[in-house]
């Protein structure tokens, strides 16, 4: 198969560091991966093309990059699937500084992993023998421990694009690996201190639920689902005095009342009725909307047969 590989190139040590696109055309085997194709270009055409790789089997997590704009592992992506009109477009992973070509600096990635204290912290009384964890809980955790720290999720995170302080999908998923471990936290396995820390600014509530990390993850870790599980754990542990938790709780309450979303009450309940500065910040947009006839009705309508929804909400209330 004849393919053109379009690579975004960069050299931080160059006299004038500027990124630019370069195209290489090469003949690859039908079963070649994108990584095979890149290595072939490096071997045959340009020895200065820089990339990381090691295992070539989606185990080591070295070759994460953006392939056709999407984060993932080059060694796990068949070239034949990645070709669009004869071309595969390859860029370095996003949300990290580029060192050279497809090699990025992972310092910030590891800093965030370290921030979530990535080791067990049992707080209850020490058992006489070993800590016992159920098979079920370990099987559940194996989904998260499948993470190979490749950075694909971080590459595509839409929050990190605008806020580099966000802990990000990899570190938050790693944190869940401990909050969901029955050996971590108090004797009931509740990791209250962790959940408190993770609920601060730049933590679990800053995720937008865009699912970019779920799509990018090559190992099925589903980082966003873990972040949602962290939120559930935090709310279950009574950590509800924040906008994120109030937002989720108000949503259930409002839908449970009228069957549909009352868009005026939701922000008020989220920031809190006594949070005057936050409420005042909505005034300009409220006035603009009112003038354009866009402000939702003050008298929110209930859906037909709303009693059925109310009954379900009541029955399933947590």
């Amino acid at each position: 198969m004849n393919v053109t590989i379009k690579v975004k190139r960069f050299d931080a040590d160059a006299e004038k560091p500027e990124s630019y696109w370069e195209e290489f055309t090469t003949e690859v085997a039908d079963n070649a991966t994108v990584l095979d194709a890149l290595i072939q270009v490096r071997e045959d055409q340009d020895g200065t093309l820089s990339l990381r790789c090691s295992c070539r089997s989606a185990i080591c997590g070295s070759c994460a990059m953006r392939i056709n704009g999407q984060g993932g592992l080059a060694c796990k992506t068949p070239a034949v699937d990645a070709v669009i009109d004869g071309t595969i477009t390859v860029e370095p992973a996003g949300n990290m500084p580029v060192i050279k070509d497809l090699v990025t600096n992972f310092d910030g990635f590891w800093d965030k992993i370290n921030q979530v204290t990535p080791y067990l912290q049992p707080q209850g009384p020490e058992p006489e023998a070993e800590y016992i964890a159920s098979n079920e809980s370990m099987l559940h955790l194996s989904g998260v421990t499948a993470c190979i720290m490749c950075g694909s999720c971080v590459s595509d995170c839409t929050v990190l694009e605008v806020d580099p302080t966000f802990l990000g999908p990899a570190a938050l998923a790693k944190a869940y690996r401990f909050t969901a471990d029955p050996r971590d936290g108090d004797e009931d396995g509740v990791s209250l201190d962790r959940l408190k820390d993770l609920g601060q600014k730049s933590g679990m509530w800053d995720c937008t639920r865009c699912m970019a990390c779920v799509t990018a993850c090559p190992k099925g870790v589903d980082p966003m689902d873990r972040i949602m599980a962290l939120r559930e754990q935090a709310m279950d542990a009574g950590l509800t005095n924040n906008n994120g938790a109030r937002h989720a709780e108000a949503f259930v309450e409002l839908v449970g009342h009228s069957g549909s979303l009352d868009e005026l009450k939701l922000p008020v309940k989220t920031v809190g009725i006594f949070n005057v500065p936050a409420l005042l910040s909505y005034v300009p947009v409220g006035i603009r909307s009112l003038r354009r006839g866009k402000l939702p009705s003050l008298f929110h309508k209930k859906i037909e047969g709303v009693e059925n929804v109310r009954r379900l909400v009541k029955k399933l209330e947590k």
Binding site: D206, R209, N243, K294, N308
Partner: protein, 293 residues
Amino acid sequence: MKFAFYPGCVSRGGCPELYSAANLVCDKLGIELEEMPGASCTGAGVLQEKNRLLGDILNARTFAMAEKIGSPIMTICSTCQGVMAQARHRMNADADYLEEINSHLADEDLHFSGDIEIKHLLWVLIEDYGLEKLLPLVTKPLKGMRLSPFYGCYIVRPTEALQTDDNPERKVALETLIEALGATLVDFEGKTRCCGFPILTINPKNSMAMVAKHTAEVKDLGSDAMVTPCPLCHLNLDGFQPKAASQAGRSIDMPIIHLPQMIGMALGIAPKDLGMKRHIVSTQKLELKLQEA
């Protein structure tokens, strides 16, 4: 062609112009819509944070209502599309789970079979209605208009629940329509990113940074407007654009139009009737281009 119509809460709340524009367009195209007045909110992924089972039951309730009507579901909201597709995906994959959910619906004499077609108007136009039927009805090609797509996360990800790998045309549906209607496509990477709406009340600074990033990017590319199939994206990208622009310290002034408004303009429906006066960012310059077209 008939659908069980699920307009979603926002199209009847903060974006009423979307609801009326969609109805006008479907009426003109002869797409029959039957609303489900008893259908609830999908939960928008937020309710699911607190209680996923409840969210799935509420959506199964809507699916069962549509099955009673005997038509596939059509929505005009990317978020509703995604949340419903994810709920369906979970029930479809697990017969026990489906049975559990149905046990909660029995009181209302409702039952969900486990599979139903759920399609955004965007997909309906391409897959069911078809461009070959749509294009002859275009009386006002959008020539000279430079338009950028903005999908909304939930109609793009996750691909498995949305069945986009089996239906690859869904991945480029907006671009296809923009070009088919005669406009110039101004493509940009941000089209499948997050608009920031879900964290509007949680981290407004980041939310505004996202609005500014996307709208300014297409502005700098020379786009006349952004087109979105998601009213939640519209609320943020249009409604909060002045605030985002002031946070970013620059002027942006990028009109955001709903998908049915773009179709409506091409079908010769007056912008006034499509509710474009209701937008926060003026669409006046865009309307002038339409007159010139």
